[in-house]
């Protein structure tokens, strides 16, 4: 196919920068696609173009390609951004300007006109690759299975096949992995790939399966690679076939409209099961003879083609002769090339309460058969159950007391009620407010408080114990207070020599307490030695020694020049100083 370009030059750009847009064709059908390319010449660092609004197209970006050439010493570079446009409707459309930003400056391409025509109504077998979407039934009922098959025919090698198929308005089940066949179409042999999907229409009315878009790489005939797996996602063939040229292509199928029929109201059973398809039902008992209060398991199987997964079998109600405990149903689904089938298995633990010959009643099921266009009712056989009195008498009390039990086959079961239980009307349930722990903050405080109080108590108790048993600690604890008290008790009007003696005694006693020394008859020199061992600094030691020497001198001096308050203040200062350091 010849490719022609419409070059559109922008305005007001530097001499070495050119931005243009092109398409590979201007007329196409709804089955085709068009490649819209934006070429930026003069640079390779342009950002991806901003496309115009394309409401009538689906857009898929492709790889960008860049080139750099030196011809006769002239350098040229360019980058091309390509987009595949899939038309969604017929008509004449103008693709507006694409905008490219280079170094903060915007460049726009010229608009391009495209003409989109209806797709051909017949399969064009002149093409080497084409795709067809078919459905098994265009007028299905709601929930009736419809098989949609996408077939891709090809007589050239294709690879990296990617099909974008959308089924809105349906529940879908993939039937099988894509299979390869050989088909003859209009006398031409094609290889075909089929992808089948089971669809279940969700609502009545017109529902469209939109056109599917298939992308693939076509191998050039000269490359000769017909046997490659087209679903190979890794393109392994390219490693072995460097001579074959790959050309990326797209296909579109026709959209298909289904007219989904509602299920008829005529003959519709009151307890309709919502099943649509073709089903069978069967039942069996694990044991046909049991003792009263013993358990046998009833297994009911519903199998067939259709939406069996949606089945909800009503709970059986068989009076007072048999208690029923129902298990969660099991579901198994099987898919073939064309249909979805499955089976749902309900298990009931039956506990007979009276001896005698009982019959497990038939379980009925109705469904809509689309082939007949009518509702069908099926049922299991009524099963005989012989109940013997049992050696230990009735065991039903054991079962009554437990709403959840296990039968001998390990089936867990739950009690089935006939109706809801009455409201709670007793005033006590509303009058007595639930015990509340109040707000979160209050609760957190209440939770942390015992731990905090314990820590405080623990510390206090340990301190008390230390005061009791640690003599050194006990002596030093309160030494300062005692010394201060004695200072306060000194009468300033007394004889200064007597005051000096008292002060000397007080300071020595204080030092004896904090250094744990025996007696108070220590000299100033001894004080210095002990204080050094006690870790006091040179200043404190010096000051203490001088003070004590001064007091000693004053005690034996005929007169003292120092007033009593000054002597007391000196003692206070040294006590404060020592207390800070101790």
């Amino acid at each position: 196919m010849p490719i022609f370009f419409i070059w559109a030059m922008g305005t007001a750009w530097p001499a070495d920068l050119q931005v243009s847009a092109s398409v590979d064709k201007q007329e196409l059908t709804l089955e085709d696609s068009v490649i819209f390319s934006v070429l930026v010449e003069g640079t390779q660092s342009a950002l991806a173009p901003e496309l115009p609004t394309l409401d009538s197209f689906k857009v898929k970006a492709q790889r960008s390609s860049s080139s750099f050439q030196i011809i006769n010493g002239n350098r040229s570079s360019s980058i091309t951004y390509s987009f595949v446009l899939f038309p969604m409707e017929t008509g004449t459309f103008t693709i507006g300007p694409a905008t490219v930003t280079i170094e903060g400056k915007q460049y726009r391409t010229e608009p391009i006109t495209l003409v989109i025509k209806e797709a051909s109504t017949t399969v064009d077998t002149s093409r080497e690759v084409f795709a067809v979407m078919e459905v098994s039934n265009k007028k299905p009922y709601v929930q009736e299975q419809v098989t949609a098959t996408l077939q891709i025919f090809h007589r050239v090698g294709i690879r990296n096949l990617e099909a974008n198929v959308q089924f809105q308005g349906f529940r879908e089940e993939t039937l099988k992995e894509p299979v390869e066949n050989t088909r003859i179409v209009n006398g031409i042999r094609y290889s075909s790939y089929e992808i089948s999907t089971a669809l279940f229409p969700l609502r009545p009315g017109k529902v469209e399966i939109p056109a599917s878009i298939i992308e693939f790489d076509q191998i050039d005939r000269s490359g000769g690679e017909r046997s490659r797996d087209p679903f190979d996602p890794f393109g392994r063939g390219s490693i072995f076939n460097n001579f074959g040229r790959l050309e990326h292509k797209t296909l579109r199928t026709k959209a298909i409209t289904l007219d989904v029929q509602p299920l008829p109201k005529k003959h519709r059973p009151e307890n309709f099961s919502n099943l649509v398809g073709d089903f069978i039902i069967s039942a069996r008992l694990s044991r046909a003879e049991v003792e009263v209060g013993d358990t046998t398991t009833l297994t009911v199987t519903i199998a067939g083609q259709g939406n069996v997964a949606d089945l909800a079998l009503p709970s059986p109600r068989w009076g007072d002769e048999i208690k029923i405990y129902e298990d969660q149903p099991e579901f198994r689904q099987m898919t073939s090339a064309r249909t979805v089938s499955g089976e749902k298995i309900y298990t009931y633990a039956l506990v007979p309460l009276k001896p005698g010959g009982l019959r497990v009643p038939a379980i009925s099921l109705n469904y809509f058969d689309p082939t007949k266009g009518d509702y069908v009712s099926i049922q299991t056989q009524s099963l005989p159950l012989t109940v013997t009195p049992g050696a230990g008498g009735s065991k039903s009390g054991r079962v009554d007391s437990d709403s959840s039990t296990m039968d001998k086959n390990g089936v867990s079961a739950q009690k089935i009620k006939e109706d809801i239980l009455p409201i709670h009307a007793g005033p006590e349930v509303f009058e007595s407010p639930n015990f509340t722990t109040g707000s979160g903050m209050l609760y957190a405080i209440g939770l942390l408080l015992p731990a905090g109080l314990f820590l405080i108590s623990s510390r206090t108790y340990k301190r008390q114990q230390r005061l009791k048993y640690d003599i050194a600690f006990s002596r030093s604890h309160g030494a300062y207070k005692r010394a201060q008290k004695r200072l306060n008790a000194l009468s300033q009007g007394s004889d200064p020599r007597e005051i000096a003696r008292e002060l000397s005694l007080n300071v020595r006693e204080y030092l004896g307490n904090i250094l744990n020394l025996q007696g108070t008859a220590i000299t100033a020199t001894e004080v210095e030695e002990k204080m050094m061992k006690g870790g006091f600094g040179a200043d404190e030691i010096q000051a203490t020694r001088e003070l004590l020497e001064k007091y000693e001198t004053l005690q034996y001096a005929p007169t003292t020049g120092n007033p009593p308050e000054e002597l007391i203040q000196g003692a206070r200062r040294i006590l404060d100083q020592l207390e800070k350091k101790s």
């Binding site: 349906f170 529940r171 709970s315 809801i420 509303f430 109040g438 707000s439 405080i445 015992p450 731990a451």
Partner: protein, 251 residues
Amino acid sequence: MTTRYLQIAIFFFCVGIQLAPAPIWGQVTTRVSQANQLYNQNQFQEAAEIYEQVIAEGMENGHLYYNLGNAYFRMGKLAKAILNYVKAQKLLPRDEDVEANLEYAVRQTVDQLDGRKPHVLDSILFWVRDLNLNEHRIALFWINLAFWMVMAIRLRHQTPATQSARNILLAFLVLALVSTGLRWHLETHQSTGVILPQQIDVHSGWNATTRVLFQLHQGTLVSISQEKEDWYEIELPGEKKGWTLKSNITG
């Protein structure tokens, strides 16, 4: 001294209990009795309105949710009935009536599915769902208090008996902490929803154009695992999961 601090602790606890917000029970009881009478006279809608009002005023009572569930069930509003039974079950986890009615209501739905997902720790901490969050908190409080009291007693009496008591209470305290934490997590992070419309489509993604995986019907209980924009991701037993609009689910 130690005993005095513990006495203070107990005092604070009692004060805390007294300070806890308490509804005006007299008025509430009268209105609930009135609603119960209306229910018994088959005036279910009027009864439901009163139950809803009382709940809206802040009364958290499992029996009230249960009665409201019954009223909605009788009105044929299966989804709302199931939702209120689930709320009642959170507050009254051991109440057999609530369990029976919830089970019965679920069986009346088309799908008959209880999609509430068990937590991975449920089988180990099997008692967690048997107590409501408030009961867990109360148990934790008393065990905590007992533990610290024993610790205080051990300050003066370090005997083998007090040591055993301490070890046992410590084990209980750890269990109570984990249980309360798990229950809190279940109530705050594990969301349950009920399908409101007659039938909904469950999609593979949070977009209406994604494929429909399956359909669910009114009243089906589902677990909500995450949300994005206007969509919830819901889970059902058997690893089934998908997305549906938030407006389809009440919870």
